[in-house]
Each structure stands twice: as C-alpha cells, then as structure tokens.
Symmetry: C2
Subunit: 118 residues, 2 copies
DNA sequence: AATTCATTTCGATATTTGGTGAAATGTCGT
DNA sequence: ACGACATTTCACCAAATATCGAAATGAATT
C-alpha cells in the first residue's frame, strides 16, 4: 500500500459516521449490509450515508453490490489489512514496537475462536 | 482507546505532510527532531509545519519538548500503539483476520527486509 | 538590553468537507 | 406501463481545513 492510498483510507475512517459504518460492516462480515439498514442503524439521512459510503468506497475500504433493489455494502478486509500493515511497518518504529494487539507469537494460546459470520 | 480519540488520530495522520512528518519522527525514535529540521526535510513553510504538528500533538500522536531555542517533536509510540490496537480490534473482524503484518507465528518467513524510507 | 535565531501566532484567503431536502435513477410487483 | 420502494444525485449552505506571509514570542549570545 502506498502513502497516497493510506492517506485516503485514513481520511475515510477519520469520521464518526464512517468509522461507525465501517465497524458495522466489519462485524457483519463479507455479506455486508444494504444502505438502508446502515442508515437506519446509524441514524443518518440516506443522502448523507451515500456520501460517506462513497468516501469509504473511493478509499477502497468497502465494496458495493446490488441485490434486487437494495445496494449492499461490505468491508474490504484486504484493504483494511493493507492499511494496518502500512501503519505497523511505517509508523511503528521500523518493523516492530507497535504490534502488541495481534502478536500471538507465544507458542501456546492461539485464540481462533471468533468465527462468527453475522 | 475510544472511538473519539481514534478518529482524531486517523484524521491527524490523513494528510500528506503530517503522515510524512510522523513517519520521519517514528524513524528518528524517542529523541525526536526539532521543528526546523522537519520543515526543512518536508519542504514546508515553518508556519505551515507548526499547524500540522499541532494537529498531531492535539491528537496525542506527538510530544513536544524544548531544548535550548529549539522545539523537539517526537512520536508517541504508545498512542500509535493504541491506534493500531483499536483498528485491529474493531475494524478487522473481531480479534483476528487483519493481523498478517505482525503475526510471525509461522515458523519460517519473517520478512523484515523492507527498510525503505520513501 | 540589543541582536539573532527558532518557532509560533495571527489575519486573510482559497479549498474542502459535511449536512440538508428535493428531485432523479433504478428496480420490483402488479 | 404504473406505482411503490431503495438509493443516489444535485444544489445549496455552513463550517472546518490548508496555505501564505508578516508580525510576535521565547531563548541564547554578545
């Protein structure tokens, strides 16, 4: 991931509504949610939500697909992956020093028990 | 780290000059750099740099300390740590699924050979 | 206390961003 | 083809952000 894309992604997430929307989509998994549901949950006007979802989409963080008359949005985990990778690699002191949230390097305790698709 | 702080941090990093400045400070380590040097490296006017450094400082990503007549800025690794933690925990599918940048759990291939400064 | 250096503050201005509601688009069911 | 529904597009406005240069502040040197 290049710096330009990173900036786009950071900027896209740097907003209350958008961060919330993205978190919702991440929770929901690859299936995503229709715009209406998101707008409803987040209590924002549909036109406003479209604006924010487009920001996320333009930054490559979410994808869009039509299902009937609904538009489903889903988090792009690959993009998020790239963002976190960029941050840990470039903004965390070389290669390490900011990786405590994910480091399961210790031999035992692999916590892979969150397979929920909701 | 709360969502509000996260948004502040994301917004602070979501800018060309600021991301570059922060990366520079991260590279430099805890000692940091005086404002003048940063402005020089980044080719921005001092007044402009102050503005951006303040954004970073306000977001808690950098700290300031005076040394003689210079003001040294340094990256706050703890804050960055918290940011990455928040993202991996809240925006990466529960607890895992976005942690390949830091997971050296696999026995072999640890690629720590990308020391490019661009 | 006057000068110089490093940095910040200030004021003006251009640009971008975010929010709103009304209209337009696309899709389905009949 | 028509009407209902889901979502987007548009036009407008307010507020935040970015940039610039000039002036002000703080610290060191003489």
């Amino acid at each position: 991931m290049k710096a330009t894309e990173t900036i786009a992604a950071l900027g896209a997430l740097a907003h209350d509504t958008r961060l919330e929307a993205f978190r919702l989509l991440v929770q929901r998994g690859p299936d995503g949610l229709p715009a209406g549901v998101i707008a409803d949950r987040l209590k924002v006007l549909p036109s406003s939500l479209t604006f924010h979802l487009q920001q996320l989409a333009h930054a490559g963080l979410v994808t869009q697909r039509r299902v009937g008359r609904q538009l489903f949005y889903a988090a792009d985990f690959n993009a998020m992956n790239g963002l976190v990778a960029y941050l840990t690699e470039n903004c965390c002191g070389g290669t390490a020093s900011c990786a405590p949230a994910c480091a399961p390097a210790e031999t035992g305790k692999a916590r892979k028990s969150d397979r929920r698709s909701a």
